[in-house]
């Protein structure tokens, strides 16, 4: 048998060339890193119109005419920060919504301190969110708002919509976990063996860095090695460096999570899966998904490793609303909000969905009936499991 031929000379030659180009790249990279970088995040101007404790409400000013009458309240998760929705010009969900003529408010949960450790889901949902909704309604002289929840914020939005259905006109859930008894998500598997009581009793609030380390462990090969290899290879590209630094700024800007909220979320949702069974109790009241009767748009990512499609897709079948739509996009957990490609379809789709229902809700206007056959979102995995015939549910 002939011995395998390995072009050692070529390999060595390439290695030498790579070393030379790496040296040149480092020279350029030094100039870039020492120079001025535009790595600012959350550039869209806003005004803080309401504040309660650490929680603030941002209102984004827009020069575009309002095409949707009902304001949209964005409720982000308690993990990481809401700045991800306004990462940079051209990659901003907020800017896209403003361009679509939506009046945008966004909850900024701030940085919980030790004194916030006893705040539970009830305090966030029936306290802060409810007060914010009341404020927006009073300010705009309306009785209902549109709500879009993101991830854990989406779960809070679902709970809020069930407990206060009279205050929500339309609900949009994005990458929102509502079904937790799955084996496809590592978080779901890991959270079952975590002693959450011991964790909360030890730390009070759950440290953001602690959670971040957990997220890095979900895929160490990509998140702890490959990502930085890519950075090293592209250090001579100023735009790449700026975008990279922006993402790093966002990823590692992790507020702590109030201990009691974490305890309840992990125990009731991840360990007991109570929400989808209508058994979860918040503020002494049972959360009944059948009371979620407003139109519901449920968006999730096909390649989401944190909240897999299986964790999201059961919601629409469980709620009381008869106007529900599922959209599964060909992207991951963060890609939905920051991928330029996804952005081109995400915001317009939501705006169009809201516009249809906003017009229908306006006095003297009739709601447009839903199409008989659901259509997949452009570029999506084509997964729109079911769409019940639209009917006035309020």
């Amino acid at each position: 048998m002939a011995s395998p031929k390995i072009p050692v000379d070529l390999i060595l030659k390439n290695l030498a060339q790579e070393a030379e180009s790496a040296q040149k790249r480092m020279g350029k990279a030094t100039d870039i890193l020492l120079g001025e970088l535009d790595a600012e995040i959350a550039p869209t101007p806003y005004t803080v119109v309401y504040q309660q404790d650490r929680v603030r409400l941002k209102h984004y000013s827009s020069v575009n005419p309002k095409k949707i009458k009902t304001p949209l309240l964005l409720i982000y998760a308690l993990i990481n920060r809401e700045t991800m929705l306004d990462l940079q010009p051209g990659r901003s969900v907020v800017q896209n919504f403003l361009e679509q003529g939506i009046d945008v408010f966004m909850v900024d949960w701030g940085y919980p301190t030790r004194k916030d450790r006893y705040l539970d889901i009830d305090d966030h949902v029936n306290g802060y969110i409810n007060d914010i909704v009341d404020f927006i309604c009073e300010k705009n002289k309306i009785s209902k708002v549109n709500i879009m929840g993101i991830c854990m914020g989406g779960t809070f939005s679902v709970i809020y919509a069930c407990l206060h259905p009279d205050k929500v006109r339309n609900l949009i859930t994005t990458v929102t976990p509502t079904y937790f008894d799955i084996d496809t998500g590592l978080l779901n598997i890991w959270m079952r063996s975590v002693n959450v009581d011991q964790m909360v009793d030890t730390y009070g609030n759950i440290p953001g860095d602690f959670l971040n380390f957990g997220f890095l462990l979900l895929n160490p090969a990509r998140l702890m090695i490959d990502k930085y290899v890519a950075f090293f290879e592209n250090m001579a590209d100023k735009t790449f460096v700026e975008n990279f630094v922006r993402m790093e700024k966002w990823i590692f800007d992790s507020p702590d999570i109030p201990g009691e909220t974490f305890r309840q979320f992990i125990k009731d949702c991840y360990q007991r899966n109570l929400l989808i069974q209508n058994k979860m109790v918040v503020g002494g009241k049972r959360v009944n998904l059948k009371k979620l009767t407003m139109p519901l748009l449920n968006v999730y990512g096909k390649f989401d490793h944190l909240v897999p499609p299986e964790a999201c897709e059961k919601l629409t079948a469980a709620v009381g609303s008869r106007d529900t739509v599922d959209i599964c996009l060909n992207t991951g957990h963060i890609g939905i909000y920051v991928s330029s490609k996804t952005q081109r379809e995400f915001a317009p789709k939501i705006a169009s969905w809201l516009k249809d229902r906003d017009m229908a809700a306006a006095p003297g206007k009739k709601r447009r009936p839903a199409t008989s056959k659901p259509r997949p979102a452009k570029g999506s995995a084509g997964k729109i499991p079911e769409r019940k015939p639209a009917a006035a549910s309020e």
Binding site: P4, K5, I6, P7, L10, I11, K13, N14, L15, E18, R114, K115, R117, Y118, L119, D123, G127, L186, I189, W190, R192, S193, V194, N195, Q198, M199, D201, T202, Y203, G204, L217, L218, N219, P220, A221, R222, I225, D226, V229
Partner: protein
């Protein structure tokens, strides 16, 4: 055996001479030292004589007495007798020490034999894993007990808390070793797979001269290995144990820190938490009252 030359000398004589000489040496020095260590500036109302002076004088007196007794023929005789039994005492002491050491070694052997008993036919591939597991068990079942010996005396509670923190830290280290070892395994496996892949490529003539190609292959293999590991219950269990050890160490450390905070009259975390809870409950009651009103 008597010496051939000259009269037989008293063997204690040189020691006696030396003792007498030292006693004579200390006698005139005493008043001089007393002057040096007894300046007026060191005197106080509560200590008019000067503590240093007093201590020095008593030490010098003790030395003088000791050397005086050596210079005395009868005293020297006792001293020499004592010196003759010294080797016996030293032997007795060293024997006790050796026996203690032997007992300790015996105990260590017992631990090791106990640990090794269930692994007679151990796979050599699993040796590193077994070593970590055995070390963990050895620490937790044998060594950890020494940190739990009841403490006595006024500071017993403080000592107990310090020992508990040290013990929990050691437990955390053992758990971390186990966890880090698990995280290392995919690296090892992916490198082995990469080597096999390169051989395969060489055999089929598909060798690529770009290093990036091999990096891309390796990172995919590594990712796959990690995904495989993370799905295993063994990993979840190890992670759970490590987290538990981390939390136990944090709690033990906090208890030790609280001791220090109390000394400086700084509120402890527990005290602050109680206060935060009261504020939280008061705010809830206020909110409920406002809603009713």
């Amino acid at each position: 055996m008597p010496e051939k030359n000259g009269p037989r000398k008293n063997p204690e004589a040189p020691a006696m001479d030396w003792g007498e000489m030292l006693a004579q040496f200390w006698e005139p020095l005493m008043p001089a030292l007393s002057g040096i260590f007894n300046p007026l500036r060191f005197q106080s109302q509560t200590d008019p004589k000067g503590r240093m002076d007093e201590a020095l004088a008593s030490s010098a007196k003790a030395w003088q007495t000791l050397f005086g007794s050596v210079s005395d023929p009868g005293g020297m005789e006792h001293f020499m007798k004592a010196a003759q039994v010294a080797p016996d005492i030293a032997f007795g002491l060293s024997q006790a020490c050796l026996q203690s050491f032997a007992r300790f070694q015996e105990q260590v052997n017992t631990w090791i034999s106990k640990r090794g008993a269930g692994h007679a036919g151990l796979d050599t591939q699993e040796l590193d894993k077994a070593f970590i597991r055995q070390w963990t068990h050895t620490y937790e079942e044998e060594l950890s007990r020494y940190f739990k010996i009841p403490q006595i005396g006024l500071t017993r509670f403080y000592q107990e808390r310090a020992l508990a923190a040290a013990d929990k830290f050691n437990v955390l280290q053992t758990r971390m070793s186990e966890f880090m070892h698990l995280l290392y395994l995919p690296l090892e496996k992916s490198f082995n797979q990469l080597k096999e892949k390169v051989v395969e490529m060489a055999e089929t003539g598909a060798v690529d001269e770009k290093s990036k190609t091999y990096y891309n292959i390796w990172i995919k293999l590594l990712e796959a290995q990690y995904m495989k590991l993370f799905q295993q219950p063994e990993y979840s269990a190890a992670m759970g144990r490590t987290l538990e050890a981390l939390h136990e160490f944090s709690t033990a450390r906090q208890a030790m820190v609280d001791d220090v905070l109390k000394i400086y009259a700084i509120p402890t975390q527990k005290e602050l938490d109680e206060l935060y809870k009261e504020i939280h409950l008061l705010k809830k009651r206020l909110r409920a009252c406002e809603q009713k009103g």
